[in-house]
């Protein structure tokens, strides 16, 4: 079997004295949508930030697309084709929608059709209508779409997607799910942090459950849905 696109093992991280991750291991293959499920404070966001190099972390293995990314700066990891969509969105509110997308623009790696504005606007039709608008004048849902679109402009092979459904109206959540499915259809892998089981179940192939900084369960999404015990223990509030 070929190597997974993203391989993580023994990933530990701390904020100052407070340890947050205790040897997290997970992997994702090309074109696969993998959910990382867990409650608030379980370590989902830190896992993503540690992978992308935004928090200091140590790991036994941290490989992406055949490269050891443990010591790489964030922008180098991004240039290898690993996109990151933060939970708090972090769009550039002073910039227009178009300029936000322009910041994300990077040439496509060989063998992949690049994301064009037209293609993005098909996935996120709302954005097409507000190209020249300042991002500060957008609704939360629109901002969430923009932040995903901005990362896709970098033509990544994989996207780390942090709680895209959080705080959004059900109809927008549905659009997010469609967006993830569209990304998968383009051959992208997605590591999706979620608390919303319905949303995750609708789009994911496999799932990990994280609690107190360690992976407690790994399996297919269907298995997780069927496993009441795990769900009760780690996911219900």
């Amino acid at each position: 079997m070929t190597e997974a696109l993203l391989t993580v093992s023994g990933l530990s991280a701390a904020y100052g004295q407070a340890k947050v991750l205790f040897g997290v291991s997970l992997e994702a293959r090309r074109g696969e949508v993998v959910a990382l499920m867990g409650r608030n404070g379980a370590g989902k966001t830190t896992t993503l930030k540690a992978i992308i190099g935004m928090v200091e972390a140590s790991a036994e293995t941290l490989r992406f697309d055949g490269h050891d990314i443990r010591r790489l700066e964030t922008f180098r990891i991004a240039r290898l084709g690993l996109g990151y969509v933060p939970e708090e969105r972090r769009i550039f509110t002073d910039l227009t929608v178009h300029e936000n997308l322009a910041v994300g623009l990077r040439p496509a790696r060989s063998g992949r059709a690049p994301w064009t504005l037209d293609k993005l606007y098909k996935v996120f039709p709302n954005l097409a209508e507000m190209e020249g608008r300042r991002a500060s004048a957008m609704s939360g849902g629109e901002q969430q779409m923009l932040t995903i679109a901005r990362t896709l402009m970098g033509n990544p092979d994989m996207v780390l997607l942090d709680e895209p459904s959080e705080g959004l109206a059900p109809v927008i959540v549905e659009q997010m799910a469609e967006a993830v499915i569209a990304m998968k259809a383009e051959g992208l892998a997605v590591l999706l942090c979620e608390q919303n089981l319905h949303f995750a179940a609708a789009v994911s192939d496999r799932a990990y459950v994280i609690e107190k900084g360690a992976i407690r369960y790994a399996g297919t999404m269907a298995e997780l849905e069927a496993n009441d015990e795990i769900r009760e223990a780690y996911l219900t509030v």
Binding site: V55, E56, P86, V103, G104
Partner: protein, 627 residues
């Protein structure tokens, strides 16, 4: 007033505003992207002027024409741009993750280095520049003669504004600068190499500083004080406009330009004061400046770690303190006059540094203008004795009261702010005090100061005065130390670490910070009063920015996380300064390099480093990743 006069006056205000804007836009762009307040921006401006007075005359030899003049100006600015880029690669790149106080100090180290290099290369004598060919005449506006070059400057300001607008809106570099100004970490996560973006930004910022400096050569003789005088003005412009905002810098420069042009008619002596007063008012009404936005990065604590755990004196510490006091008591008996003089200075500076550490390490209030309170104490004592005919004893009592009173007044505004804006406001108030003492010649003696500040007869021997200083500084330090260990000190630290949580448990954060500021100012004032009697004179260097920086360096040398460190730092700093300064013509160069090395190697200072050796468990962690 005659309308023609008003027009002329406002035009000359516009010309200064143009120059200010060109320089300030560079500073504000650099701050926006790198979050570093670059003290050396004024030095880059000065370098631009010195390069231009060298390059432009050479080009005018070839062809005495306006294009050659402009070519020379442009070349100078480009060279400064390259210097800025080198500065980013060599220094700034290493300090993006250190606390902002250290960044400020490190860039001030560059200021010191450039000052000595400029004197070495160009000499200390001011150099008059060539005038611009074809722009030497006057233009008549309402029958009033107005220099054509000033009109040209107004045009240049608008051209720079236009070009910057195009750069920011229409180029990828500009869009990235604007994006990074908002969230540079996210820009990195989108695959942008921040290192090059930052280097490019520093090139642009330094180019603008150099351009501003080079354009000055027909107006002012180039001199070695240009750096400090412009940097304070430019700080004011960027702070009023909102740090990081180019349009803000433009509007603020316009306001300041007009304020100076007309202020000089009404209050000829205190134009500087007006400018800083405006800044203080703007910051109180709009804490982020006119066009600035509340920003977590700009408002975050300028120092992530002050004093974390208070240790009471153990047996070893008590023995060391006892020995130290015994040595201090014995000094006049065993030492010569010179040692006693140095001893007095060390004690005075130790108190000043300790009072600053009280603000910084305990209160998290990073004052960049602590010399103001030291100087106010010195001036109060000195003027009461010389002008008021008062004796030393009441003057020494009044010195801390006057300094404390001003600290209460200024502190009322200062403690409302946080982070870099707070530091800027402390600097502004210090510059107000400096400007008043410098410009009010009749009362304060201006640049020369006042001599004849002598102790009373009984304390006139150096040995006796030494014991007086020893008693008073020790008493003040012990009293302040007591306050640190009292509930007041705990409350202050709580307010430092989380103002919101401290507020929630019933601590009146504003008041406790205000009180701390006042107390610290009074202690510094006592130190200043004692200092003036030991010198026998007062002069404005006691209030200057370099003095404030000296205090900060003492605190840093001693270690920001230790209670007693500043005392050690003051002793170490002053001894080294006293020993080396007479030996070298390059004291500032040496000091600047030392500050930079200290920031890079020992961010916890000497006392901090030794306590780290003793207590290896506690490891200092600076914020990781982009901040």
């Amino acid at each position: 007033m005659d309308p023609a006069f008003i027009v002329i006056q406002s035009l000359s205000g516009l010309a200064s505003a143009s120059s200010l804007f060109i320089i300030a836009s560079g500073l504000t762009i650099v701050f926006g992207v790198t979050r570093i307040v670059n003290f050396a921006h004024g030095s880059l401006y000065m370098l631009g002027a010195y390069l231009a007075v060298t390059i432009v005359p050479m080009l005018l030899e070839v062809d005495r024409s306006l294009p050659m003049f402009l070519l020379g100006v442009l070349l100078s600015a480009l060279i400064v741009g390259v210097i800025g880029a080198v500065m980013e690669i060599v220094l700034l790149r290493r300090i993006y993750h250190v606390p902002e106080l250290f960044q400020l100090l490190a860039t001030f180290g560059v200021v010191l280095i450039v000052q000595d290099l400029v004197i070495k290369l160009w000499g200390a004598v001011e150099i008059p520049g060539p005038r611009a060919p074809s722009l030497r005449h006057g233009v008549f506006i309402f029958d009033q003669r107005f220099p054509a070059y000033e009109l040209f400057l107004i045009g240049m300001g608008l051209v720079v504004l236009g070009l910057l607008w195009l750069l920011m809106q229409k180029t990828r570099f500009g869009v990235l600068i604007r994006a990074a100004t908002q969230d540079r970490e996210m820009v990195g996560a989108l695959g942008v190499n921040q290192a090059w973006l930052f280097t490019g930004t520093l090139f642009l910022g330094a180019f603008l500083a150099g351009l501003g400096g080079a354009l000055q050569i027909p107006r002012v003789a180039v001199n070695t004080q240009m750096d400090i005088s412009i940097i304070t003005e430019v700080f004011v412009v960027t702070v009023i406009g909102g740090m990081g905002s180019v349009p803000g810098a433009f509007v603020a420069a316009l306001i300041i330009g007009q304020l100076q042009a007309f202020g000089i008619l009404i209050f000829p002596k205190i134009t500087l004061v007006l400018v800083f007063l405006l800044m203080a008012v703007v910051l109180v009404v709009k804490p982020w400046g006119l066009f600035g936005k509340p920003d977590a990065a700009a408002g975050r604590a300028i120092l992530p770690e002050g004093i974390l755990s208070l240790k009471r004196f153990g047996r070893v510490d008590t023995i060391i303190a006892g020995i130290a006091i015994a040595v201090l008591l014995a000094l006049p008996i065993v030492g010569d006059n010179y040692m006693v003089k140095v001893g007095i200075e060390v004690l005075v500076l130790a108190l000043a540094a300790f009072s600053l550490q009280f603000l910084i390490g305990v209160g998290g209030i990073v004052s960049f203008g602590h010399a103001a309170y030291f100087g106010l104490g010195a001036y109060a004592a000195g003027l009461l004795v010389t002008r008021g005919g008062m004796a030393m004893e009441p003057a020494l009592l009044l010195a801390p009261l006057v300094a404390g009173g001003f600290a209460a007044l200024f502190g009322f505004f200062i403690v409302r702010l946080s982070g870099i804006y707070l530091a800027m406001l402390t600097l502004a108030f210090a510059q107000i005090v400096y400007a008043v003492c410098f410009q009010w010649v009749a009362f304060t003696g201006g640049d020369n100061g006042v001599v004849g500040v002598w102790p009373s007869a009984w304390a006139s021997s150096r040995q006796v005065y030494y014991y007086l200083v020893l008693a008073m500084t020790l008493a003040a330090i012990i009293a302040l130390r007591h306050a640190i260990y009292a509930p007041f000190g705990y409350g202050l630290r709580a307010a430092r670490d989380s103002a919101i949580r401290a507020d929630a448990i019933g601590i009146d954060v504003g008041r406790i910070r205000w009180f701390a500021f006042t107390l610290s100012g009074a202690a510094a004032g006592l130190a200043g009063g004692l200092y003036s009697f030991s010198k026998g004179s007062i002069d404005p260097t006691m209030i200057s920015i370099p003095m404030s920086v000296d205090f900060l360096v003492m605190v840093l040398v001693g270690g920001i996380q230790t209670v007693i460190g500043p005392v050690v730092g003051a002793a170490a700093f002053h001894s080294v300064k006293d020993f080396f300064m007479p030996l070298t013509d390059f004291w500032r160069l040496f000091l600047g390099l030392s500050i930079i090395m200290m920031v890079l190697v020992f961010p916890r200072g000497i006392a901090g480093a030794t306590s780290a050796l003793v207590d290896r468990k506690r490891s200092v962690t600076l914020p990781a990743g982009g901040v």
